[in-house]
């Protein structure tokens, strides 16, 4: 038995929040602030998969999933219903 650690999955639908959605995460920040352990980060997408010529896209990425307490406050607070935790 390898005894794998529990994996907490958090998904953000970028069709709803971020480069394709209605909301610029910089204007919202609700999930960032509601999360006690600060699981999310907000960052530019330049150099990732977006066009590097237009760096003006920002998105939220859950990076510290292992610290998530599954309180679901982020799911509740998101005005676009873009976050899923399981």
């Amino acid at each position: 038995m390898l005894g794998l650690p529990e994996k907490i999955r958090i998904e953000i639908d970028y069709e709803k929040c971020g480069e394709k959605g209605k909301i610029d995460p910089r204007e919202c920040c609700r999930c960032l602030r509601v999360c006690d352990p600060a699981v999310f980060i907000m960052h530019e997408t330049v150099g990732l998969e977006q066009d590097p010529i237009d760096p003006q896209y920002w998105r939220i990425t859950p990076v510290w999933n292992s610290l998530c307490t599954k309180c679901m406050k982020c799911v509740e607070v998101c005005p676009e219903g873009a976050i899923r935790v399981w």
Binding site: L2, L4, K7, C28, C29, L48, N65, S66
Partner: protein, 290 residues
């Protein structure tokens, strides 16, 4: 016994008390301007960069994996402390720091920091909370780099402050409950004093939650004067690290020296002059535990 970084870069003193580590000559030698421009332009992406080809998203999970986790940890520590010529600024290779008490932070800002000095928005709080709080004091080459990045500086580019203002500001932040820390960026060039809090600070996060040595504990440990302590418990609320407890039966507070970071912030809450910093070396259980 002194810490590894003092031996290497302290010239017989603590590493952050060595004036050479603040010099423009050193910055030139390390090509710090190029490094810092690349690092700060892309800073918010630092936690999604790859380590050994593995994305650092959910690093906490990956570090717990058998075998892979141990290799990942070894490599992450190597990156954090890298002094290699080809370190990657986008991953912040060679960027780490140490907590300092207010007195030492003031000595640094008053005497050692290279001008110009600026106070810009804390990048950690920005990327982790979307909050712009002006409390990061940067100096030397890093100031001129950050001044070109509008998201980190107040409008009309009014980030510059004098030495005296810098000393006043660090005291304000410290009294507010933020922990002062001094940073190599990249090692051994020193150019920042931050005012950190848990869990937003990226350095404290990686150290406290994942045990990676992005930031070291200070050269001190707090001690309580049992005769003076009135058991008001104010210091307990102030501690960012959960190192102080109130023991009702004794009628005083106790500090766990294994947990204490020696930041000294709890002192601001004590109205009975019962808290004082002791050199870490003088506290057997804390000696060498940075």
């Amino acid at each position: 016994m002194v810490c590894n970084w003092c031996t290497k870069h302290g010239a017989g003193k603590k590493w952050y008390m060595n004036a050479k580590n603040y010099s423009n000559e050193l910055a030139d030698e390390l090509r710090a301007k190029e490094y810092l421009t690349e690092q700060w332009t892309n800073f918010e992406q630092v936690y999604i960069r790859k380590i050994m080809g593995i994305s650092s998203i959910d690093l906490g999970y990956k570090l717990k994996l058998p075998i892979i986790g141990r290799v990942l940890r070894w490599q992450a520590e190597r990156m954090i402390h890298s002094e290699s010529k080809n370190r990657n600024p986008r991953r912040a290779d060679g960027h780490f720091g140490q907590v300092v008490p207010l007195e030492e932070a003031k000595v640094i800002l008053g005497n050692l920091a290279a001008e110009p000095i600026i106070e810009n928005y804390c990048m950690c709080r920005w990327m982790q909370r979307g909050i712009k709080e002006r409390c990061c004091i940067n100096f030397g080459v890093l100031s001129t780099v950050i001044e070109r990045l509008p998201r980190f500086i107040p409008e009309n580019n009014t980030a510059r402050i004098s030495r005296e203002e810098a000393m006043e500001r660090i005291e304000e932040h410290n009294r507010r409950g933020y922990v002062a820390s001094v940073w190599f960026q990249p090692v051994p060039y020193i150019n920042a004093i931050c005012s950190c809090e848990n869990p937003e600070c990226g350095g404290l996060r990686l150290r406290r939650d994942f045990g990676l040595h992005t930031v070291y504990k200070s050269e001190y440990v707090m001690s309580v004067d049992a005769d003076k302590c009135q058991a008001c418990g104010m210091c307990v609320h102030r501690c960012q690290f959960g190192a102080i407890r109130l023991v009702p039966s004794l009628g005083r507070a106790i500090v766990d020296p294994k947990v204490c970071w020696g930041c000294g912030v709890c002192r601001h809450s004590c109205t009975h002059d019962a808290l004082g910093l002791m050199p870490r070396e003088d506290v057997p259980i804390a000696r060498g535990r940075y």
